[in-house]
C-alpha cells in the first residue's frame, strides 16, 4: 500500500499524496499557502485520483517526517473548516447582520 507521504532519498524533498475524494482544490491550496512561507511548494496531479504536493525547505534544511505529518493533519482540519463554512456560513452572516442592525 502506498504511504500518503514520503521523504526523498537525499532528504531534501518531502512528498504528500492527497486523495481528491477527501480534499478539494481549495483545501490543498490553502494549506500549501501556509507552508509557502518556509518551503517551496508545488502541487501536481498524481495518478487519477490524487495530487502530489512537494515541499522543499527554502534554506536547504533536511525534510522531517513530522513536517509531512503536520501537513496531512492540516489538510484534514482545513477540509473540515471548508465544509463547516459551507454549513454555517449563512448563519455567520445573519449573526453579524443582527449585531449591526438598529433596534427597531
Amino acid at each position: 500500500m502506498e504511504m500518503p507521504f514520503a521523504v526523498s532519498e537525499d532528504g531534501r524533498l518531502g512528498f504528500v499524496y492527497a486523495d481528491k475524494v477527501f480534499f478539494n482544490r481549495e483545501c490543498v491550496l490553502t494549506v500549501a499557502d501556509i507552508y509557502a512561507e518556509t518551503y517551496y511548494v508545488s502541487v501536481v496531479p498524481h495518478q487519477e485520483d490524487k495530487v502530489r504536493i512537494t515541499l522543499c525547505d527554502k534554506h536547504g534544511a533536511r525534510m522531517q517526517e513530522s513536517t509531512l505529518r503536520s501537513f496531512m493533519n492540516d489538510l484534514v482540519d482545513c477540509q473540515v473548516r471548508l465544509d463547516l463554512q459551507k454549513e454555517f456560513g449563512d448563519l455567520r452572516k445573519r449573526i453579524v447582520e443582527y449585531a449591526f442592525s438598529p433596534v427597531s
Binding site: E37, N73, R81, L91, R92, I95, V96, E97, Y98, A99
Partner: protein, 481 residues
C-alpha cells in the same frame, strides 16, 4: 441523524486529545476529540452531557435557533461596541525634544534646544478642534513627545482650550500626560492636579534594569531622580492619578519577577508586562535589546504564574492578562487600541505629530520619520475632519480586519485578537500578510494558548483571582490568613 444545527465556530486541536472550540462571539469549551468528530457528523445524541454543554455555549441549536442567533449577536455587538465611540484616544506629540535618551526609544529625539521640533500653539488648537469633531462624548487627550514637560506652554494652552470646547459641546474630556517625570516641577504637577490630568510614566524595573536603558542625554541612569519625582507627583496628585508602564528588554526579560517585585514595593496597583516594539532606535540596537517572541511568551507566562501566586496574598493584576481573560470569560466590551479588529489604528486612536500631521498610530508616525509617509492621513492645518477620518481612514480599515486576513480568518483565537496593518507593512511592505510566522501572531497565539491552559487547570482560588482582575473586585479572593 440528529436534528441539531451547528452554529458558527472555530477550533484547534490541543496536545491533550481534545479540541478547543470558540464560537462567533467568543464563548468557548474543550471537547474530547471523538466527541468532536461525532458532533460534526450530527451523530451526537441530544441527551448526551456533552451535547448539553455545546448547546449551553451556543455551538449548536435546535428549534431555539432564532433566539440562539440573537444571543450570539448581542454578545458579538458588545465585542465590537468600541466602534460606536469611534476615535476617542487622541495623542498629541507636543515636542520631539527630550531630556533623556532611552535605548529603545521610538522617537528620534532631537537635542534639548531644537525647538524646531515643537508643536506650535496654533497647530495644537487646530488639532483640538479636529479632536472634538469625533463623535465620541468622552475624548481622551494624551500628551506625548519627546518629553512634553519641555514644551509646557503648549500643554497648558491645549488643556484650557479643550476644557472650553468640552463645556460648549457638552462632552467630557480627560487628559493624560505621558512623561518620564525627571524634569517635572512642582508648578507643572500642581497644574495637573488642578485640571485633573493623569500622569503616565515609565518604570522598567529596579535601579539596574531601569538604568540599563533609561538614561539621560549624558548617559547616566535616571532611576534615582525618577523615584524622587515619582514621590513628588504622588504627593501632589494622589497615588491613583500616577501610573507607570514598563517595557521588557533583553535586560529584564529573564528578571520579570524582580520587575514585578519592584512595582509591588513601590505600591503600584498592578503591572502591564509589555513587549518591545521594534521601531526607531531599537531597530539599530535590536541585537542588544531584542529577543524572540517565543522567548517573550515563555517568560511572560512564567511571570504571570508568579503574579497569580502573589495574588493569593495581595490584589495585584497583570493588565494584559486581565484584558485577554475579560475577552475570553466575559461578554464585557474591552477597549484596547493595539488589539482590535478592525484595527484600532485611526478608529479608536489617532496621533497628531508636532507639525500637525495626523497618523492612525505611533508606528505609522515612526514610519514617516524614517521616510515613508504611506499612512499619513493628512494635516490638521490643511485638511478637514472628513478627509482625514472618513475618506483616507476607510482605505486602511478595509485591510485591517481579522475576519479577512489569512490565516486569522479561521484562527481559534480570532474573537480575542486584533490586527496591526502598520506593523505588517513595515515587515513585508503590505498591510495584510500571512500571519503564520509574524512575531505579532507568535506573541498573541502563544500567550492565549498559555492562558487557556491556565484556565483548564485553574482551581477555585485561581478562578477567584482571575475574576477579581476582570471585575476589579478585590474582595472576591479570600485572603484572610
Amino acid at each position: 441523524m440528529s436534528g441539531y444545527t451547528l452554529l458558527p465556530f472555530r477550533f484547534r486541536r490541543t496536545d491533550q486529545h481534545d479540541v478547543l472550540m470558540v464560537n462567533e462571539c467568543g464563548d468557548f469549551l474543550f471537547l474530547p476529540e471523538q466527541v468532536f468528530e461525532r458532533f460534526l457528523r450530527h451523530e451526537l445524541p441530544e441527551d448526551d452531557g456533552h451535547f448539553f454543554r455545546l448547546k449551553s455555549h451556543l455551538f449548536c441549536a435546535g428549534e431555539d435557533i432564532e433566539v440562539a442567533l440573537h444571543k450570539t449577536a448581542a454578545r458579538y455587538r458588545t465585542r465590537k461596541s468600541f466602534l460606536r465611540e469611534f476615535t476617542s484616544l487622541h495623542m498629541l506629540v507636543v515636542t520631539l525634544r527630550c531630556n533623556q535618551r532611552c535605548s529603545y526609544c521610538q522617537v528620534s529625539c532631537a537635542g534639548k534646544d531644537a525647538s524646531l521640533y515643537d508643536m506650535d500653539v496654533e497647530t495644537a488648537l487646530k488639532a483640538v478642534d479636529m479632536i472634538f469633531q469625533s463623535p465620541t462624548k468622552h475624548p481622551k487627550l494624551e500628551f506625548q513627545g519627546g518629553e512634553p514637560l519641555l514644551h509646557w506652554e503648549v500643554v497648558t494652552a491645549t488643556v484650557a482650550y479643550a476644557e472650553k470646547l468640552a463645556r460648549r459641546l457638552e462632552k467630557k474630556v480627560s487628559f493624560v500626560l505621558c512623561t518620564n517625570l525627571t524634569a517635572a516641577t512642582r508648578e507643572q504637577l500642581e497644574f495637573c492636579r488642578e485640571h485633573n490630568v493623569a500622569v503616565s510614566t515609565s518604570l522598567d524595573g529596579d535601579a539596574a534594569v531601569h538604568d540599563a536603558c533609561r538614561k539621560d542625554r549624558l548617559g547616566r541612569g535616571t532611576y534615582r531622580v525618577f523615584l524622587e519625582k515619582l514621590a513628588l507627583a504622588r504627593d501632589i496628585l494622589g497615588r491613583d492619578r500616577v501610573g507607570a508602564l514598563m517595557t521588557t528588554t533583553a535586560f529584564s526579560l529573564d528578571h520579570l519577577r524582580d520587575v514585578t517585585d519592584e512595582y509591588l514595593r513601590l505600591g503600584m496597583d498592578g503591572i502591564f508586562l509589555r513587549s518591545l516594539n521594534p521601531y526607531g532606535f531599537a531597530a539599530e540596537e535590536a541585537a542588544t535589546l531584542g529577543y524572540s517572541m517565543e522567548r517573550f511568551v515563555e517568560k511572560y507566562l512564567e511571570a504571570l504564574r508568579y503574579i497569580m501566586e502573589l495574588n493569593r496574598k495581595v490584589f495585584f493584576p497583570e493588565y494584559f492578562a486581565t484584558l485577554l481573560f475579560s475577552r475570553i470569560l466575559s461578554p464585557f466590551a474591552t477597549g484596547f487600541v493595539d488589539l482590535q479588529s478592525p484595527a484600532g489604528a485611526g478608529i479608536s486612536g489617532a496621533i497628531y505629530d508636532f507639525d500637525g500631521s495626523v497618523f492612525p498610530s505611533d508606528e505609522a508616525r515612526m514610519l514617516a520619520r524614517m521616510g515613508d509617509r504611506h499612512f499619513c492621513l493628512g494635516n490638521v492645518k490643511t485638511d478637514d475632519y472628513r478627509e482625514i477620518f472618513v475618506t483616507r481612514l476607510k482605505k486602511l480599515t478595509f485591510v485591517s480586519c481579522l475576519e479577512t486576513t489569512f490565516p486569522c480568518a479561521y484562527c481559534v483565537y480570532q474573537a480575542y485578537c486584533g490586527t496591526d496593518p502598520v506593523r505588517n507593512y513595515l515587515e513585508t511592505g503590505n498591510e495584510q500578510r500571512n500571519m503564520t510566522h509574524a512575531p505579532f501572531c507568535i506573541k498573541h497565539k502563544g500567550i492565549l494558548t498559555g492562558l487557556f491552559d491556565m484556565l483548564r487547570h485553574a482551581d477555585d482560588t485561581t478562578r477567584d483571582i482571575i475574576w477579581s482582575w476582570i471585575t476589579g473586585n478585590a474582595e472576591l479572593v479570600n485572603r484572610s490568613c
